[in-house]
């Protein structure tokens, strides 16, 4: 079981409150991603759950029992760090076996578990090496191996992929997702990369300045963001926000349209906004246009596949009326 409940948890460093009172429920077996811009308190929140930081006030419950004052070593959680934090003086085998040794598990059983974990993670050939002799991806696997052998209540990941190159990151993302399918253990994953959040999470927690902006499944956040911050943070490229006269027509302070929710045409349309292509980014599968649409501002528009528009070309864009998000002056989403 791995339910984690945060009740009115706060954290201050000196006089600075980085996490105002916060409630959160994480269910057993869920893959929860904390996402937000750097400095939003997501890592601090993870460290509070881990017990590496003490809460200033409030309670943390693990499996229904108060864990607020239990030291990290006794919480039954495993953590994978951004820097991997492997023990440089131990072989891969000893690194993975370390939590078992600490738990006082018999060497024979520990050996079997380490070898099983190494098998799953493709590390069998590297068991006698030191971390310094491994590549970034292999080190990451060792860190994961060390986390899984002790069969924790929940896994905590602190930006585990940010030190890897782009191709490896996509691979590891998949491996972690597969691991979650296999183990069905609660996972809490911190990242600033909304793509990681969208692709891996069952539940995303969007944070800003220590405050939870919205909690929901990836698609909930995508299709019904609670406010302008979430709308802008989730989705890539970012949602376009249009204020002023155009927004007023929709009875809102601002409207938001995702790049994929425009109808683009190189011929004049009756109710389209006229614009001029400033930059076009050709990705093969998609083309992104940055279009200067006069009083609407510069809009990012996505077209599927190749689209024959170049710098300086005139074009007409029209938002998909059903997919327009409306926001009030405070940035909150207006009901339709």
């Amino acid at each position: 079981m791995g339910t984690i409940t945060l009740k009115q948890v706060t954290k201050s460093f000196g006089d600075t409150q980085v996490i105002p009172p916060l409630d959160l429920q994480i269910n057993d077996g869920e893959f929860v991603v904390f996402v937000g811009p750097s400095g939003c308190g997501k890592s601090t929140l993870l460290r509070l759950i881990a017990g590496l930081e003490d809460v200033t006030s409030g309670h943390i419950e693990i499996d229904g029992a108060d864990a607020t004052n239990i030291p990290p070593s006794k919480r039954g959680l495993s953590m994978v760090f951004q820097s991997y934090a492997l023990y440089p003086h131990m072989s891969v085998r000893k690194n993975i076996a370390f939590p078992l040794k600490m738990a006082g598990i018999e060497p024979e059983i520990a050996k079997k578990k380490v070898e099983d974990a190494a098998q799953v993670l493709n590390l069998t050939d590297y068991l006698e090496r030191r971390p310094g002799q491994l590549s970034g991806g292999q080190r990451q696997r060792v860190a994961i191996g060390r986390a899984i052998v002790r069969e924790p209540e929940a896994f905590l990941f602190d930006e585990p992929l940010s030190n890897l190159d782009a191709a490896l990151r996509v691979n590891m993302r998949l491996e972690i997702s597969e691991l979650h399918q296999e183990l069905a253990t609660t996972m809490i994953y911190v990242t600033h990369d909304q793509v990681e959040a969208m692709t891996m999470a069952d539940k995303i927690v969007v944070l800003q300045a220590g405050v939870i902006e919205q909690v929901g499944s990836p698609l909930e956040l995508y299709s019904s963001p609670a406010n302008r911050f979430v709308a802008g943070f989730i989705g890539s490229p970012k949602m376009n926000f249009i204020e002023g006269e155009t927004a007023a027509k929709y009875d809102a302070h601002a409207i938001g349209v995702r790049p994929e929710h425009f109808i683009l045409s190189n011929k004049q349309t009756k109710d389209g906004w006229e614009g001029k292509v400033e930059v076009s980014e050709h990705l093969g599968s998609d083309t992104f246009f940055h279009i200067n649409a006069g009083k609407q501002g510069v809009l990012t528009v996505r077209a599927i596949g190749e689209y024959a528009l170049r710098h300086g070309d005139a074009c007409w864009v029209k938002p998909d009326e059903d997919r327009i998000h409306r926001f009030d002056a405070a940035g909150l989403t207006l009901g339709s």
């Binding site: 590496l52 030291p71 070593s73 760090f81 934090a85 023990y87 040794k101 600490m102 060390r146 905590l156």
Partner: protein, 276 residues
């Protein structure tokens, strides 16, 4: 742009370094040379440098007159014991200062160092009285404790700088892996800090070996280490230069050899943490 070092400059620098090195080493060299002279040659005027009748006589006299082995054993016990004791006390202290610093950590470190600025003689009287009270006068145990306390600030400082270089995340990882504080220090921190601990051990062994103020003032016959052995050959009349030199050479030889073989560790130990 890298600074260009001309050949001339290199030669001057090398010559200067050698000059300074020889200047520092000269008294030791002179002591060693004198130990092979007769008492008459030793005080000859003008002094004789290399060309004299080399003799081992002083060594045999010194060996006959006093029991070198006992002094040597006392030195090893006191220097070794105080260093090991110091390390055991200093590792947890340095751990807490390096990894869970408080607002006052810097002040405490400075305060600890400031005790080294106090002239030792300033606390001789109270410590002497304490030694009488606890029956520690002329005991190796008493000296071991005093030398441990004297060198503790340096040990803590050195370990603190080493520990600061160890990423805190690795210790946090061990905590997440279920390690208790004891296991964390024993299985993770200490092995990672082995080079640092080794050079700290070495330096403090040397410092304790050479310490003369407390060893001379708190010992008589039983617990006297090699420093007292040397002192016993210095007479106010100064007529036994050669024997004094032989005793000195015998006293510094072990530490000189140790220092020679651990040069690398020592240099690393003294410059570690200075360059990021």
């Amino acid at each position: 742009m890298a600074r260009k070092i001309t050949n001339n400059r290199k030669i001057i620098n090398t010559a200067a370094a050698w000059g300074i090195g020889l200047l520092i080493f000269f008294p030791i060299l002179w002591t060693i040379l004198t130990s092979f002279k007769t008492e008459a040659t030793a005080i000859a005027d003008p002094p004789v440098f290399l060309f004299f009748d080399w003799t081992m006589e002083n060594y045999s006299v010194v060996q006959e007159r006093s029991n070198y082995g006992r002094f040597l054993w006392n030195s090893i016990f006191i220097a070794g014991g105080s260093t090991i004791l110091g390390i055991i006390v200093a590792i947890p202290a340095a751990w807490s200062m390096a990894f869970v610093p408080s607002k006052r950590t810097k002040d405490i470190l400075l305060w600890m160092l400031s005790t080294k600025m106090l002239p030792a003689v300033g606390v001789l009287y109270p410590i002497y009285l304490l030694f009488i009270k606890f029956g520690l006068l002329d005991s190796v145990l008493g000296l071991t404790i005093v030398l441990m306390l004297i060198n503790l600030p340096i040990i803590v400082w050195m370990l603190y700088t080493y520990f600061r270089e160890i990423p805190g995340e690795i210790l946090e990882a061990s905590r997440m892996d279920g390690a208790s504080l004891k296991s964390e220090i024993l299985y993770v921190l200490t092995p990672m800090a082995v080079p640092g601990i080794a050079s700290t051990l070495l330096l403090n062994f040397i410092l304790a070996w050479n310490e003369a103020f407390w060893t001379l003032n708190l010992t008589a016959a039983k617990a006297a280490p090699l420093t007292a052995f040397i002192a016993s050959y210095s007479s106010p009349e100064g007529l036994f230069y050669a024997k004094l030199s032989a005793a000195s050479t015998m006293a510094i030889a072990p530490i000189l050899v140790l220092g020679w073989f651990s040069q690398k560790q020592l240099v690393r130990g003294l410059t570690f943490g200075a360059v990021k």
